[in-house]
């Protein structure tokens, strides 16, 4: 299952992010339409991006491909203050990894990254933007990335819904008997 930049832009449409030039929600009931030439205004620093991609590869299904471009486009398109908070928490997580494993998160294998997050209690933490480290990681990293994934049509499709809640996917899909109808 290939994630694309277009998927990231679609996820941004769900957030109403203003940082994407060209992304727009049509007003004719057909739902979100993302211009192919839409482009985030901001860039994401390499080290922060590497951490975020590593977390995304941990919390996304293993079938997801193209995670790096998806995450980069999504995070770049977020409002500046939201992106800055995400990158700050990513840096905190990375510092923890370096402390525990003498390596950045991005250099850990998937199983070790998974163990790091669980040992921090992120799996059972209440998401809190300003809470303890595990709560902030849950809010700013894990839930932000899961939101981007499962509120996008491509992520939703893995579960069986191409127009998930929070995605402005129009008023056609609810009438169809299956996702296949749309493709056929």
């Amino acid at each position: 299952m290939d994630l694309s930049r277009r998927d990231a832009l679609a996820a941004l449409a769900a957030t109403g992010a203003a940082g994407v030039a060209g992304a727009a929600v049509l007003d004719d009931g057909d739902g979100a339409d993302v211009s192919a030439d839409a482009a985030p205004d901001a860039s994401v620093p390499d080290d922060g991006l590497a951490t975020l991609v590593a977390v995304a590869e941990t919390v996304y299904p293993s079938a997801a491909e193209g995670v790096d471009a998806f995450v980069e486009t999504y995070v770049a398109g977020l409002p500046d203050d939201r992106r800055d908070e995400i990158l700050a928490v990513a840096a905190d997580l990375d510092a923890t990894a370096r402390d525990w494993f003498d390596a950045p998160v991005a250099d850990l294998d998937r199983s070790t990254r998974d163990g790091l997050l669980r040992d921090l209690g992120v799996d059972v933490a209440d998401p809190d933007a300003d809470g303890y480290l595990s709560e902030r990681i849950r809010f700013h990293l894990v839930n932000e990335l899961l939101y981007a994934f499962y509120a996008s049509p491509t992520g939703g499709r893995l579960v069986g819904i191409e127009n998930p809640i929070a995605y402005p996917g129009g008023t056609e899909s609810y009438r169809r008997a299956s996702m296949e109808d749309e493709d056929g």
Partner: protein, 528 residues
Amino acid sequence: MAEDRSPDPDADVCVVGAGPAGAIVAARLAEAGHDAVVLDAGPRFDLDDRTDQLDAHVRPGLEGLWGMGGERDAYTSSGPRGYPLNDARVKGVGGSTLHWQGMVMRLHERDFELRSRHGVGTDWPIDYADLRPYYAAAERELSVAGADDNPFAPPREEPFPLPAFPPSHSDAIFAEACESLGLPTHSVPNARNSEPADGASACVGYGTCKPVCPSGAKYTAERHVARAEAAGARVVDRAPVQRLVHDDSGKRIEAAIYATPGGEEYRQDADAVVLACGGVENVRLLLLSASDAHPDGLANSSGLVGRYFMDHCFAGVGGRIDRPTRQNHVGFNTTECHALYDGTDPLPGVKLEFLNYAGPSPVIDALHADDWGDSLLDSLRESYGTHLAVGGLVEQFPRAENRITLDRSTTDDHGNPVPDVHWSLGPETRRAIERVNEVQRSILAELGAEIDWVVGPDATGPAYHHMGTTRMGTDPESSVVAPDCRAHDCENLWIAGSSVFPTGGAMNPTLTIAALSCRLADRLEDWL
């Protein structure tokens, strides 16, 4: 610069409350050339913040969707049934339409004649024919999307302003089962744009209608506030009215006394006052305005202000079938069944709703899960996809013991006693819920569904429709307002909204609220 919240020196009418009841009155009067002031206890909500509010709804860890709660909104609930009042309302410009779902049906003819037809409840002092042209006006005001396909609906004379939303995939599943059970299904009138209208887009399917529509396709009373302001009305937010004051005769309201965030207290004089702050706060304000001339509260010579509080009770059955049901694409319903509404088994009005949002949403489940990766995907696939549910609303007959009073032991942020909600179910409502559950079970059984949950008389809750507490009637001893919605006891005090409903039927009340507001505006315009 701080917003000017000082009073208008030359107001014809002061409207208290900027929800649909008040905003429609204000818009129509302002457009007719009258000087209208609207005071609302809550804030204006910026349309640009709606996607952030969607985030707050979907993502755990974010709060403050509509800002309800806290000292401003304190209340108590003393009845046999707890009442979650602050889940049931929004204070602010737009009122509870900010978080409503947007279903807009006309009451049926029987709803106006319950006592005459069945010997229960009471009759309205007006009938369906009186309100019929105002229903049409209300449908235009709310740009209702609907279809004339409901064989049980009362007579109508003109098409809906916008085409209905077509039925969902799950509606088609239900329709077949219902047909075989003799329960014809039909469309749902929605106050939601099926096409661009009123300067707002068509629905784009965010799926979060309740509690927030980021696209603006769902009607909120902000549309009428904007119309009122465009016509010259003044709308003041965060201006909770503390009390109404009257002249020496006690017959005429002189002014509304309101507070502001800066701590000032102002007096808004007006030729007429329209109370439009809901079935709970209308009562509280009348009771807070007690005086020597009105020792039991304003407009309360009958002693009925606050009594006969009614809501609609939810009944539902949900389960799973062995095929995709395609739920949670949209947050509104497209099919209902009113086949049982006018009958006598049960006698209380009931309607069936076929939900388009049964079962979990994968994205919301994912954000609450204690797992991730492939195992999360596996659990989401297991939990999503085959759910179905039939909900329904059940009528409560008016009961004098169900009432809103002041709890003088608790005060709000201005030192005023808070409302106390005393709510209970009567035996006829319990029986009606049980009967609806039987029908709902039979529908799911027809589909071969495995039933997961039932909301019956013990688990039922309110639909957040506050009705009946300033009932309309011709006799000042048995009602609070006259048929024109003017208080029996005060010649220039009018009450808009569902608090004037003598009975509530089982139809969502906002279209009737809007129709009565259109009618009230006509009457008040003649009076001014």
